[in-house]
Every structure is written in structure tokens, then in C-alpha cells.
Amino acid sequence: MKIAVCVKQVPDTWAEKKLRSDDSTLDREAADGVMNELDEYAVEEALKLQAAHGGEVTIVTMGPERAGETVRKALSMGADAAIHLVDDSLHGSDALATSYAIATILDGRGFDLIFFGSESTDARMSVVPAMVAERLGVAQLTFAQKVDVSGTSVTIQRTTDYGFETVEASMPAVLSVVEKINEPRYPSFKGIMAAKKKPVETLSIADAGLDASQLGLSAAWTVVEDFAARPPKAAGTIVTDEGDGGVKLADYLATQKFI
């Protein structure tokens, strides 16, 4: 079984994020880069399936050279190889462009399963997996809280507001996972050492056969007009409970007409 896991380097989950004043894109220099947290769950799920069913796990990413750190982390968790699309002209690519680039890289490589995290903690759109499925014309099995593989058939539990849907498809399929699905492993020392010797295929957009006019900020399907820090909230009223905290809170809710 050939498995791809698409990962993204994002600003540290715990860091305050901001936009750049010059081109309104995410300021990636302002914080340490880490692997998007939900992508760790995708890597873990791929490695578990590989352990049970055999095959190979390939990490796929696009992003600046620095995103190589995220590739190394995924390899040190146990993935076998990686493909890294790195090109200055990718800067500012939106979801349509990203899905175009990723689908093009994946197309024709014979992957049976293509994993994603269900969203990135920076852009939070949750659309790229569905877009990649659309572009590749393969089954979409997204928001998975459980994945089962049997022969060439894949069944997932798709998380919904009311519980879950059971969804089935034949390979190939695009999957995205939610954090409920597993507990990602930490890279071991041995894994970190081994990752240094694993193959990373670095591609430019020309290598990948991508059309530059469809990528980057100038090609984006949307444009940021302006942005601003949210005005600071006026300080609220804080009281210390002296046995009547609940009553005071009820008084407040009454003045606000909630009760």
C-alpha cells in the first residue's frame, strides 16, 4: 500500500500569529515553525496502517526551505521518504493554488491513500483535502475519527455535529483526520538519526510541471483589502466570590437580559 501524508509547517500553535504589513500574508518569521498539529495525527494514522498492512509512507509538503524541519520531523516519526515543493513563487498561494500544486505532485504516483490533517491551525479553512479529492477525481473520506482498511476498501467514521457517518470507498482515496483518531508518537532518538538518511525529493515548480501563472499571491482568487488588530476589549468587571459570587453573576446576567 502506498500512502502519502500531506503536511504543512505553521507558526507554533501557542504563538500569537500576525499578518505581514507589506503583502498581508501570514508572518512566518514572527514565530517558530512547527508541523501543523493535526498533520501529526495524519502521519500517525498512516504509520499505523503501514504497520498493519505494509507498504510505504511518503511525506508531501510545499513551503519555504524552512518547512524542511517539518519534513524531518515526519521522517523521524517513521515515514520512509518525502517530497518537498519549494519555490519562491509559491509565496502567497491560496487554497485553490495549494490544492492545484499538491494534486499535481500526487497525480500519477500511484498513491492508494492520501492523508491530511483536517485543518491547519493558521488558515483554518478545512478545504484543501476536499479540493485535492475534487481535482484528482478520487473518493473524499474526510474528518475521519476512525479509519479501517480491508483489501482495497477503506471505511471511515466521518465526524459530524450529531455523531458520525460511516463512509466507505475503494482506493485510491483522500482522507483527512481529526485529533480524536489517535495519539501521535514522539520521534525516538533512533528515529531522529534514521531520518537524516531518508530520501527527500526537492522539487521546484518547473520540476513538478506546475504552471507558475496559477500560483502565488498574484494568482490568488481572493485579495486582502486591509486588516487590523482587533480593538482591545474594555476591561470587564471582576469580583471575588465571598459566598455570593453566583448571585452577583445572576445579577449581571439579568442586567444583560440573559435571564
Binding site: 493535526l38 483554518r124 478545512s126 478545504v127 475534487e134 482568487w221 469580583v239 466570590d241 440573559f258
Partner: protein, 317 residues
């Protein structure tokens, strides 16, 4: 006036509140036409859609549209966009809604903006990003703009019409049927409102301490007719089910009132609730960062304060 398509969110045949909000918002952009996809369209649904100003309702009735996730919905919408040439498409910011928007964007080669909290008459969307710390205005520059809109961001205002029903029949492609829904499991039947749509959310975090501790959170929620939420610390500890998690890796909510109990307020949590209109915080640690966001806060033991509050609310009801 130009036509604006509004995709109806519905469950068990009834229209969800977010759809009335989207219809209200659509009226600032043009004339709203609702799009009902799936079985179960009824007189009652038509009445609700008409109440909020849907001039037309396109009805794509059939189980085939919902027995395969997302892809058939995008096909129905792509067909409507090419036939009707609307000026915009509005979809609720649910998981299905965002994915439908994404697939539609590719089919009709158009830009998509997700999680809008407002759209101006000239099509500029407002988004609140990075956990509410930054407000962004942006617009779609190519094709027919597609917006997904957060629940609770536009107060629904009635504008009664009698909608014309227009039946549409779009064949579902082989590709869109590759993934098949074979079962639906209802995990939650607690009678509370949907977390993402609720006007009031009462949530609990690390300070709740145990699964049993959530009983006081639930009791307060029920006294207010609220949904229950939980921080990641509480869901990771297994005290409350994952689907109730509010935060960066869980649900984003924007209710009229958010009551946070025993939640310190790491960015992970704030990202999911910072745009709530009124925020109330109960925490025994006066240094808890969430107090910075509080309109009203009580420094105290939630097991004292919350039951007392619940009693007071019942008394005053």
C-alpha cells in the same frame, strides 16, 4: 436585483437557524434564492425560508445527494451557478459547508472565502482570524464569489415573501458517488442546542476536574437553555466527549453569551470562542488569562459559584 444563492442547512426536515441568518445577509447583496439539497423539503421549510426573504427555492430532492458526502452538493451548486449566473453563493461554515464551498470553487473556477462574519453590499467579507486577534477584510477577485459564513454572525431579520419552488434534477456523477455513506450514528441526544449554533454556551475546563464534575456545568447550561462545551484539557482527559471541544482544534463558536468555567484561557481555547459577544469567566485562579477577555468574571471555586448561579436563575425564571 442580482440573485444570491443560499445553501439551506437542514436536519430532519427543518431549516437550521444559520440559514435564516444567511438569508438576512444575502438580502444586502441581492435577491436571495435558497437551495435545498436532499430529501425532506416541506411546507414548513418553505414557510421558514419565505419568512426570511427567499424569493425562490431550488429543490434538489433525493437521497442520492446526501448519501455521498459533499461531492453531489457541489455538483448541484455548480449546475445552478452555470444556469442562473448568481452574483454570489453563501454557505454555512460547517464542515460540510466549507468542503462544499471548496469543491464548488474548483468546479466553477472561483475564489472562496471561509468563515466570514459579515459581507458588505460590494462583496467585501469580514473575517476574524488568529483566535479573534485580527480582523481582515477581503474579497474574491475571480469568478462567482463563494462565501462560507459563521453561525451567529448576523442576527436574523424577517422579510416575508412566498417563495417559488423550482425543482432541479442534477445527475450525480460516478466520481461523486465514489464515497458512500453506509450509516449514521447519533452520539448525542441530550436535547440541548447544537454547539455551533447555540445562542448561549456554557463550558468547562481543567478546573472541572472529572467527568462527574460536568454535572454542574450541564445543570447551568440547562437552566439557560444553553449548549455545553469543553476545553481541550477536559476532552483530552476524557471527562467530556471530543465533539464538544471548543478551540483551535475543535469547534469555533460565537454565541451571544459564553460562560467559561475552570478554563484558564490558553490561545488554543481562545481561538474557538474569542468572538463571543458577552464572555463570563469563573475561575479560582485570579491570574487566569481568560479574565482579560471577560465582560464579567468571578474569582472563586466553580463548584460553589456555578450551583448558586443555577439556583438563582431557576428562582428568577
Amino acid at each position: 436585483m442580482s440573485e444570491v444563492l443560499v445553501v439551506v442547512e437542514h436536519a430532519d426536515g427543518s431549516v437550521k437557524k444559520v440559514t435564516s441568518e444567511l438569508l438576512t445577509l444575502a438580502r444586502t447583496l441581492g435577491e436571495p434564492s435558497a437551495v435545498w439539497i436532499g430529501p425532506g423539503y416541506s411546507e414548513a421549510a418553505a414557510a421558514t425560508l419565505g419568512e426570511f426573504g427567499a424569493a425562490k427555492v431550488y429543490v434538489a430532492d433525493g437521497a442520492q445527494y446526501i448519501d455521498h458526502p459533499v461531492a453531489p452538493r457541489a455538483e448541484v451548486l455548480a449546475s445552478l451557478v452555470s444556469e442562473q449566473a448568481p452574483s454570489a453563493v453563501l454557505i454555512a461554515s460547517s464542515a460540510d459547508g466549507k468542503e462544499t464551498a471548496g469543491r464548488l470553487a474548483i468546479k466553477i473556477n472561483s475564489g472562496v472565502i471561509t468563515d466570514a462574519i459579515g459581507i458588505s453590499a460590494d462583496g467585501i467579507a469580514t473575517q476574524s482570524v488568529f483566535g479573534g486577534s485580527t480582523v481582515v477584510h477581503s474579497k474574491v477577485t475571480k469568478g462567482t464569489p463563494i462565501f462560507t459564513v459563521r453561525p451567529n454572525s448576523t442576527p436574523p431579520v424577517a422579510a416575508a415573501t412566498t417563495p417559488t419552488r423550482v425543482d432541479v434534477s442534477v445527475p450525480v456523477s460516478e466520481v461523486a458517488m465514489k464515497a458512500k455513506v453506509t450509516g449514521r450514528t447519533v452520539a448525542q441526544k441530550d436535547g440541548r442546542p447544537d454547539l455551533s449554533e447555540a445562542a448561549i454556551v456554557v463550558s468547562g475546563g481543567r478546573g472541572v476536574g472529572s467527568p462527574e464534575g460536568f454535572a454542574v456545568i450541564e445543570a447551568l447550561a440547562d437552566s439557560l437553555g444553553a449548549a455545553v462545551g469543553a476545553s481541550r484539557a477536559a476532552t483530552d482527559a476524557g471527562w467530556y466527549p471530543h465533539q464538544y471541544q471548543v478551540g483551535q482544534t475543535g469547534k469555533t463558536v460565537s454565541p451571544q453569551l459564553y460562560v467559561a468555567n475552570g478554563i484558564s484561557g490558553a490561545i488554543q481555547h481562545r481561538a474557538g470562542m474569542q468572538t463571543s459577544k458577552t464572555i463570563v469567566v469563573v475561575n479560582k485562579d485570579p491570574e487566569a488569562p481568560l479574565f482579560e477577555l471577560a465582560d464579567f468574571g468571578v474569582v472563586g471555586d466553580l463548584f460553589q459559584v456555578v450551583p448558586q448561579l443555577t439556583e438563582e436563575i431557576k428562582k428568577r425564571a
